[in-house]
């Protein structure tokens, strides 16, 4: 356990921490900074196990820190299944663990992990047919063991949420690099644009990224988070630009309405044109004990370090199959985490051609090309990783396993588009393997990034993996949407309707 996991003295970032407040976790008082997430405050106080899994009660720690997985569900002020990785702390908040007894560290029900022959899917279909009462007993047992959080027992009186409606000319869903650039370009062409973003700040995942990139080939290299800041500054709310942060667009309903939720408001959008720039989901790797606390997704570890200013651990092994692994290894190192190794499933030519190679060599970070992880070592937290060479078909498998001591395993590189809204709308698409290991669910936009009707997609939601491509696609989609939906004459302010 680290003495002070809060990062002080980062070479690139400065952390502005709010005022100190107190929350309680299982009756224990915990200090926190106003505005940070519950997850960060608990992590700093030493919590590493955040939940126990539904069936085997396996310990789970922070993983994606994006609200996509279900590792960090806790009870907050009596409300069940709250994702603490994206919920800000408030003074006096009461946080409790769920689905474990007597504690998250020592959960008796974890013994069920030894009986997976009784609990694997389909077991009950073949057994418990006779006698009937045996299934009734089993069902009662399963029912009491299942479920995650408890229903709120003293709920506040029902206060209906306010319905709000808007029919934007152009609705941009997702305020990351692609979405912001779409909005900037569309507004510049005179369109009426609404930009909605689920987090409380614009920028998407690159807000929490310290890589240096020349995003448009002209501006010179800047840090990703600086590029985000500059773009966000260009988006000034006006009559032609509405920005709603903290707004999650969650469903396209049969009435043709895109529904979104925002604090105590329920938004119903009927846009003329929509640009989906909702980013992507990271892909976990499958290996033994891949769900141990201490195994993180790269984007999750970036948020913990760069958003929350918290060191994830002391020594990390990065598992990857793309150059992203090296980017994240560099960022771990800069934050103060020793990087024991980068384990790259690709052959050594990929490493040779990677921009971060010089950094890896200079900082003496071991790289294992053409290797895979076979297991995470540890019982309640990662203590090490076992890797071995990728077996080549036809050649023997007497590969030597290598054990590397670490307390963090960072999985980096593979993502799939977060294009759910497009598929809800009936867009066609397919699964594709973009490289031997990366499966994506993709739509098929045309060259103007139109998927169907007046729907556009840009950036990672379109399967793009680089910030430069996301930037470029944002511009393309923004301009195409303006063209499709008509725009205002900048001189007269009058609408030019497309014929």
């Amino acid at each position: 356990m680290m003495d002070n996991p809060r990062i002080n003295g980062h070479p690139i970032l400065r952390f502005n921490r709010g005022k100190k407040i107190r929350i309680t976790f299982n009756g224990r008082s915990v200090s926190a900074y106003e505005g940070e997430t519950i997850a960060a405050a608990l992590y700093v106080s030493g919590v590493r196990i955040f939940s126990r899994s539904m069936k085997y009660h396996r310990p789970r720690g922070l993983f994606c820190l994006s609200g996509h997985c279900s590792h960090c569900l806790m009870r907050v002020n009596g409300k069940p299944n709250v994702r603490v990785c994206k919920t800000p702390v408030e003074n006096g908040m009461i946080i409790e663990f769920q689905n474990a007894w007597p504690s998250l560290k020592f959960d008796i029900a974890a013994i069920s992990g030894k009986f997976n022959f009784l609990l694997h899917p389909g077991f009950y279909y073949r057994y418990f047919i006779k006698p009937r009462w045996l299934y009734h007993i089993w069902e009662r047992f399963l029912r009491n063991a299942a479920g995650i959080g408890k229903i709120e027992d003293r709920p506040a009186p029902y206060a209906p949420v306010e319905r709000k409606q808007a029919s934007p000319q152009i609705l941009v869903v997702g305020g990351g690099i692609a979405g912001m650039n779409a909005a900037i370009n569309a507004v510049n062409k005179g369109a009426d644009v609404w930009l909605i973003e689920r987090e409380h700040k614009l920028g998407g995942r690159f807000r929490y990224d310290t890589r240096e990139v020349d995003v448009d080939g002209r501006s010179g290299k800047k840090y990703a988070f600086e590029i985000v800041d500059e773009m966000a500054k260009k988006l000034v709310p006006s009559d032609h630009l509405h920005i709603l942060t903290g707004t999650l667009a969650f469903g396209w309903y049969d009435e043709g309405i895109l529904a979104a939720t925002r604090a105590s408001e329920f938004w119903e959008f009927e846009p003329k044109c929509t640009i989906i720039s909702t980013g992507s989901y990271e892909t976990p790797f499958v290996f033994e004990n891949n769900d141990l606390p201490g195994v993180f997704l790269a984007g999750g570890i970036q948020r913990l370090m760069h958003r929350d200013g918290v060191l994830p651990g002391k020594r990390a092994v990065v598992i990857t199959g793309t150059n992203e692994g090296y980017v994240i290894a560099k960022q771990l190192h800069q934050a103060g985490v020793a990087v024991a190794a980068v384990v790259d499933g690709r052959n050594s030519q990929s490493f040779d051609g990677c921009p971060e190679k010089k950094f890896m060599v200079t900082e003496n970070i071991s790289v294992f090309p053409h290797h895979r992880i076979t297991s995470a070592i540890g019982v309640k937290h990662v203590r090490g990783a076992v890797i071995k060479p990728v077996s080549v078909p036809g050649k023997g498998t007497h590969a030597t396993k290598i054990k590397i001591g670490c307390d963090i395993i960072c999985v980096a590189g593979f993502r799939t588009p977060a294009n759910d809204l497009l598929f809800q709308r009936g867009c066609e698409g397919t699964y594709v393997l973009t490289c031997p290991d990366n499966l994506m669910r993709k739509t098929k936009p045309d060259k103007h990034l139109s998927v169907k009707d007046s729907l556009y997609v840009a950036g990672e939601a379109n399967g793009r993996t680089s910030i430069r491509k996301a930037f470029l696609e944002g511009e393309t989609a923004g301009l195409a949407a303006v063209n499709h939906s008509g725009s205002a004459d900048p001189a007269t302010g009058e609408k030019i309707q497309k014929k």
Partner: protein
Amino acid sequence: MKHNYDIVIIGGGVQGLSLAYNLAKINFGTIAVIEKSYIGSGASGRNGEMLRSAFASKEWIQFFNKSMQLWETLSSELDFNVMYTRCGYLVLASSQKEFELCRANVNTQHTYHLKTELLDIKSVKKLIPALSPEMISGGVFQTNGGFARHDAVVWAYARASKRFKVDIFPYTGVTGIRVEHGAVKSVETSKGQLGTNLVVNAAGGHAGDIAGMVGLTLPSKTYRLEMIATEPLKPFLRPMLASLNTMSYMHQSTRGEFVGGAEIKNLKPAKSLKSTLVATQDMARKFIKLFPGLGSARLMRQWGGIVDMTPDIAPVLGPVKEIKGFILNCGWVYGFAGAPAAGELLAQYILTGKMPVKIQPFNIERFEKGELIVDRSLVVPSEAGNDGAPL
């Protein structure tokens, strides 16, 4: 695929498969089940899994009671655990008027020897402590009500049917039904023609289309019903629950998900399976009204399913006079609960030609005769008003 079958059942849902199994069990002959998608892809895989026979009319009580008896032993009958859980079923009254309706229904149920109880406010509170006290005026409780895992039921019937050499053809669409001199001759499918003199229309929400292939217009329309499921919660609702006041039905699955459905008042025919905003908002309001604690429970997934609904919400079973060899097994809204009995009784009719008493009332002729079955304990709105909707 054989060239000829003694019977072709159109629809690979729980009704079609139950019928196939029951026919095969009594050695009917060669049986084919045609399903245009995967088996159980229609309402059979989308329903609320609610099982009861505590209804308000003789017709519903007697038929569904037969089904409930079969549910008790279905797992061992099919040698596959359908996960039938006998957790009890409460029909909730939220006003004095509804309570009086429940009282009347219990009296009717006792006439037909059903073991149901009229519960007072205190008993309902004890049974389901999480219910909002304002919504409790009493209710009807049936001890042997419960639920079963709908996918398991479909697989169980399919496996058992295959053991009896029934041929099941998923991903096979019916493109036409040939009728000559007023009698069925064959069924055209996307994978070939099947010669047969006997066709059963068990096509659920698509029954109207199938009937259209023989020039028939059914007295039913296709409606979309919607449901939601929340993230898993620790057990708080043991019995199945139907609410007359909110026209909703719900239960908590073994995994802990709160699963429920409710229909808006002026439900219009629809064939889409997509969820609507109006129903989503409506269901959220209704479920919070019943269980205030659900305000912080998260909607995890939602779906729609289509049903073939008649004006009295009761099914249509039996032959049609216009076409010889065309048998209806459709109009189901409570089709999941009714599948075991419908399969057995309809199979008896098809083998012997004698219509069993318990399914006789569900004949198609009742509509032109104006003899609609009225049952005031249903929680799905009917155009004819023959439901349990607030009076």
